[in-house]
């Protein structure tokens, strides 16, 4: 009888570099988790931060230091969606909206996407806080 193996489509490092106590190797991230982590990295990367590739990243950092207005909100949504479309070819962006959390001075970024070969929507929510 044939057996099926769960072959992972996407495999990435976990940048926390924590050690798996069983394998004694560092943790890896797979498929949905791997892509979610990649999206978080992308949002938090500033343009000109990556060596020799200034185009990778978003302008979220600089926009967070603006007064939060509808125009800034639109600009923020645009820079994130453009970055995802350009640099994350594994996903199709379904929706993206930013929610203002005035009490905690945070912004909540909600990204809904699907993998390009599936229709299952996946949501990722990340908080953007201005630290300094």
């Amino acid at each position: 009888m044939a057996t099926t193996k769960n072959v992972k489509q996407f495999v990435d490092l976990d940048l926390s570099f924590k050690v798996n106590p069983f394998t004694k190797d560092i943790y890896l991230k797979y498929d949905e988790e791997a892509v979610k982590t990649a999206l978080k990295h992308l949002i938090q990367t500033k343009n000109f931060e990556r060596f020799f590739h200034p185009e990778i990243g978003t302008q979220v950092h600089s926009l967070m230091f603006e007064n939060f207005s509808p125009a800034v909100k639109i600009a923020m949504e645009r820079t994130i969606s453009e970055a995802i479309e350009k640099f994350e070819p594994r996903v199709r962006l379904v929706d993206l909206f930013i929610k203002e959390l005035a009490d905690s001075n945070d912004l909540e970024v909600n990204i809904i996407f699907t993998f390009k070969n599936t229709d299952t929507p996946i949501t990722i929510t990340t908080l953007l806080s201005r630290l300094r």
């Binding site: 072959v7 490092l13 976990d14 940048l15 890896l28 791997a34 990295h41 990778i56």
Partner: protein, 614 residues
């Protein structure tokens, strides 16, 4: 096992190599351990960026280290200077322009037996609306002659005098004294060493340029450029050169130079004003320079260091072969664009026991006598063989008058006809300045023609006609002979019937005529030259000279012009040549004619470009 490429230095190439490595990194089931390296946002891509950057950084560093170790590939000045130091070459500093003045001081009170002009007496002059100060480097003392206090042929040097004193802490060559000005003229450096603050006894130290003659008591200092681009001096170790003692005081005096901006053409009258009194007397009137200020230059660039240092080494600081003379002159006198040196036995006629030197300056056509003497006495005297005397001759210039005709297709160009004319002019001048203007560099017609054609596709073709000419400056009102060793050499085969000169005044039967010279075709190889009336072409003097077309030589036994036409300074003798190429020789420099059209004296325009639209 996969082949990994190690030769890439680019960031992106290195990253590709790392990805290639990961494609071969599989688990026991032959599945890729990592898969996301192709996606820029992934964690592993961020790590790969870091690794690639690190590799790129190290590769660049290694590359720079290797490059900077060799003179040919060094890009940093400090590296080139350091390598040049190994070759015994110290880069030249700024050079101050030097002028010569003579002036008379009104009789001082008490009519002293001697009169001294202190060192660093300021002479000011204005060059291009900027005031510059010149000074005498040493005090000058004179005695009155027939009651007149006259300073004759005093050399003054451009620059601002500065003085620094250092206290010796640790004696020996390890302690170096930095001169804190990058535009110092090191030839004006004067170093004295005083015993201490309380013992005022002081000694003058001179710059050492050769170790062989130094003893433990030699009062010398050594000069070199440090990695920051400043010159620094240091002293001997008690074996080679006298060692200083702690608490000695090192006093250095020097001039801050303005470089080449103070070079003034010999055609201009340069005047100076003495800004100090001598013996209590003021020299009221302005002083006209007997030799205008020349010789100023900026410091050696890295390119010059790379060029000069190996040549300097090859001469071993000794002038023996012709190339030694060239290297030493180039290393010590930066204003020479080209140097030609040949032994007297190769001269025509031979002069045994002499070495003949011909110099072309960057500006102008001849080097002043003062500069020749300076090179002879200061540069060559200690380095030449004892029985050989250097002798300077001025270069033989062969001027080329260019008449260029361009066929221009405007449909095939973004340029207009006047723009094409400007471009062609610039290209022709560029060819002469880069490919020629050196001794023994011949002119090749095809090279210039090809260079012009390549300017723009709209230039369909070009035809260039040439004349060459020689300039003579006979003394007015005297018999001037141009024969024997003074014969006018064109160094190329001339076309018979093509010789014609610019006009000048000539007295015939006590009547001053405007005349010119022209050859009369007698046979294919030789001919006579007649003096003709400028207006009527009537022969005034038949057979005033002769020409040998094959040898390219024009002879005048006696030419006695009465004057030059208006502002002319010379007589130009034009000729066409048989070949399209113009041959040079060891003492000949081919230059483009810088003359302007002057029909009243048959003077041709040096460069004419005509653009014909087709």
């Amino acid at each position: 096992m996969a082949n990994y490429r190690l030769s890439e230095l680019d960031f992106d190439e290195i990253k590709i190599n790392l990805k290639q490595f990961l494609t071969n990194y599989r688990d026991k089931d032959n599945n890729l351990v990592f898969k996301d390296y192709d996606f820029d946002a992934s964690s592993i891509s961020i790590l790969l960026d870091l690794l690639a950057y690190n590799t790129h950084y190290n590769a660049y560093f290694a590359n720079m280290v290797a490059n900077e170790m060799f003179l040919d590939s060094a890009v940093k000045r400090e590296s080139a200077v350091s390598i040049a130091k190994h070759l015994g070459y110290t880069p030249l500093s700024y050079r101050s322009a030097r002028a010569t003045v003579s002036f008379t001081v009104p009789t001082p009170d008490g009519v002293p037996g001697t009169l001294t002009m202190p060192k660093y007496s300021p002479f000011t002059t204005t060059i291009n609306d900027t005031r510059y100060t010149f000074v005498n480097l040493d005090a000058v003392t004179i005695r009155p002659t027939n009651g007149e206090y006259r300073f004759d042929n005093v050399e003054i040097v451009e620059g601002q005098p500065l003085s620094y004193t250092y206290r010796v802490d640790v004696s020996g060559p390890d302690e170096k004294y930095t001169i804190p000005n990058k535009n110092i003229d090191t030839t004006t450096l004067r170093v004295t060493v005083q015993n201490s603050y309380t013992d005022l006894t002081s000694y003058t130290y001179t710059q050492a340029d050769n170790l062989s003659a130094l003893t433990p008591e030699s009062k010398v200092f050594f000069l070199e450029e440090n990695p920051s681009g400043y010159f620094e001096i240091f002293f001997g170790d008690g074996i080679v050169g006298k060692k200083l003692l702690p608490r000695n005081l090192v006093k250095i005096d020097y001039l801050i130079s303005s470089g080449d901006v103070c070079n003034v053409s010999g055609d201009i009258t340069q005047t100076f004003t003495l800004g100090a009194t001598i013996g209590g007397q003021t020299v009221a009137s302005s002083i006209v320079a007997s030799v205008n200020s020349t010789g100023g230059d900026t410091a050696d660039t890295i390119e010059k260091i790379k060029f000069k240092a190996p040549r300097f080494l090859s001469s071993f600081n000794r002038a023996v072969t012709a190339n030694d003379y060239k290297a030493i002159i180039e290393a010590n006198y930066p204003l020479v664009e080209s140097v030609a040196v040949w032994g007297g036995e190769e001269n025509d006629p031979p002069i045994y026991g002499k070495v003949i030197i011909s110099l072309k300056p960057y500006r102008g056509y001849v080097v002043s006598d003062a500069t020749k003497n300076q090179i002879k006495n200061d540069v060559l005297n200690d380095k030449k063989m004892m029985s050989i005397q250097p002798e300077f001759v001025d270069p033989q210039y062969l001027y080329v008058t260019v008449d260029n005709k361009i066929k221009f297709d405007p449909k095939n160009s973004r340029y207009t006809a006047p723009q094409i004319e400007v471009l062609v002019r610039a290209k022709i001048i560029e060819y002469f300045t880069t490919d020629l203007q050196q001794f023994n560099k011949s002119f090749y017609y095809s090279k210039l023609s090809k260079a012009i054609d390549s300017i723009d596709p709209s230039i369909i073709g070009n035809v260039t006609a040439f004349k060459i000419h020689k300039r003579i400056t006979p003394v007015i009102g005297a018999e001037n002979g141009y024969s024997g060793s003074s014969v006018i050499k064109f160094a190329n085969k001339l076309i018979s019937g093509s010789i014609i000169s610019t006009a000048f005044y000539y007295t015939v039967n006590n009547v001053v005529k405007t005349a010119y010279l022209k050859d009369v075709i007698t046979n294919a190889t030789t001919s006579t030259i007649d003096l003709l009336d400028f207006y009527t072409d009537e022969i005034l003097v038949s057979g005033i000279g002769s020409v040998n077309y094959t040898g390219g030589e024009v002879t005048f036994v006696s030419l006695n012009p009465t004057g030059y036409i208006e502002n002319a300074l010379d007589i130009r003798i034009y000729s066409k040549i048989e070949e399209l190429d113009i041959t040079s020789a060891k003492d000949v420099i081919i230059v483009i004619d810088d003359g302007t059209l002057y029909t009243n004296s048959k003077r041709l325009a040096g460069l004419t470009v005509t653009v014909n639209t087709v």
